[in-house]
Amino acid sequence: MKATVLKIAVAAGLMAGVATGAMAQQKNVTIGVSIPAATHGWTGGVVYHAQETAKQLEKGYPGLKVVVKTSPDGAAQANAIDDLMSQKVDALVVLPFNSDELTNPMREVKKRGTFVTIVDRGLKDPSIQDIYVAGNNPEFGRVAGKYFVENLKQGNVVVFRGIPTVIDEERVTNFEKALEGSGVKVIDKQYANWNRDDAFKVMQDYLAKHPKIDAVWASDDDMALGVMEAIRQAKREDIKFVLGGAGMKDMVKKVMDGDKMVPANVSYPPSMISTAMGVTAAQFYTNAPMRGTYTLNAELITKDNAKNHYFPNSPF
């Protein structure tokens, strides 16, 4: 009995020694990353970029461990965060499904002294987050609107909305604001749920209803693909271009190749998760101040800069 106790004590001492030895050589930091599972194109891109960045960061910072967990819904994400916390992570990077649901679990995480980085969808209580990285939805609409004003100058535009959400509302109102005072007129708006099939149907109906459409703001690349198939079927020549958004690789490729119907795109990059993970890792390995809010630009992708936005290996 005594012998066993002794053995345990010796073993513990040894292990402590090994641990301190390692500490002297390198710092051990674990970053947990909790993101939605790949249920549609954009989140598929988030998962891809999170996994790629995890590998790169582990290579770049010795002693860093990055654990990526995906969850199919908000409740599962709360559980995944619990699991990550039990692995004693030093920092947690979270792209929440739903801001309301995750605010309280994240408050608990923060109380334990964990460094918190939030991506894209902000928490109800901003004091919880140390870093906030977000895309810019109002800007997304504004950049698109500006493109129509500058390139179409005047004419009739039909608009595709996504799923009724704050994101969609911010994009569309700012798109319309950007058109104010110009000769570009929105003649129709409908929801097509960020879905290819729905956009195909709505475009067929737009084509039946409006004899002259000058351009289409599909506002999303999945919807843009459905729209273009409907235009091709109707053999209509009046439509000059279709502007999508979010920077799907197939569409960025078309921009790169100089497709006349797809002259540009507006970015809303799923790789914003990489930005968040990079900044979080830097917090532990550099002395530079990192805390704060980072708003990524919604960039206009044109033929000139398309190759910076093209990721052929990403599923999105």
Partner: protein, 332 residues
Amino acid sequence: MTETVLPTRAEKRKFKMDMRALSPFIALIVLIIAGALINPDFLTASNLLNVVTRSAFIAIIAVGATFVIAGGGLDLSVGSMAALTAGVMILTLNNLGGGDVGTLAIGLLAAIALGAACGLANGLIVTFGRIEPFIVTLGTMGIFRSLVIWLAAGGTITMRNFELRELYRPVYFGNIFGIPYPIIAFLVVAAIGALILYRTSFGRHVVALGSNEDVARYSGVPIWRVRTLTYVIQGICVGIAVLVYVPRLGSATPTTGLLWELQAITAVVIGGTALKGGIGRVWGTVVGAVILELVANIMVLSNFVSEFLVGAVQGAIIIIAMLVQRSVHRGR
């Protein structure tokens, strides 16, 4: 006692059913008139052909659903099954790599076979597992959906061979004597469906099973086989729908076929099939599918419905259409 009561009841119900069979067509005509009043562009041949062509997937799937529902079952997995079948079919085509008709044929067969296999799985679990079809197909709905998401890694499964895509594209967009192929496809599927349901002993067994399982069992209907086969028919119909669906956009995504199960069930019910089973109306089902698509079309063509309220008006129109049907067969 029973012998004297049963025949008179059956006769009465037959009379009612005939009225029920007519009423979806009347609702359809009312809708077309309403559409024409709302926007003159509605009645153009190209618009109407577009709408009917679009309704092909739901119509074909709903013909299968008519069998399942008439037999007293339910299949919630059809939307996910369609997405999975489309994904696997495209992956098969991409892996074969060729741009010829032979490659295409193998892809088409793979789709039908997978559809039938998925249906068989549903059927066997329902019958041999003795579990409520609602639960079984809710489960397989999740399984099929996750599998397609996994295959696509959350992204899109797209036909890579351009020649093959162009070869296959006319199956959705082409026509013969002005009638688009998808319309021909769903008319043929409905005709075969009607033949099986009304003119074969299997069809009568399905209806018998749906109206009273115990009576059917005592009358010697091979319950397990009939029930399983209804799900297999459903699966094959999903496979056929996918054959028409894939050439349209040449891709499958995790959102493909989302909520198709609800649309198919709605089409079946609008068509006059009883949700509790025992009555099957194949042609009514097809009209139901067209009605659903027409309502959506009229919404976009109308100028006075705000995009925020489209769903509400759509719901109201479907309920009113059902009320019109009901009053028609009461009135007579």
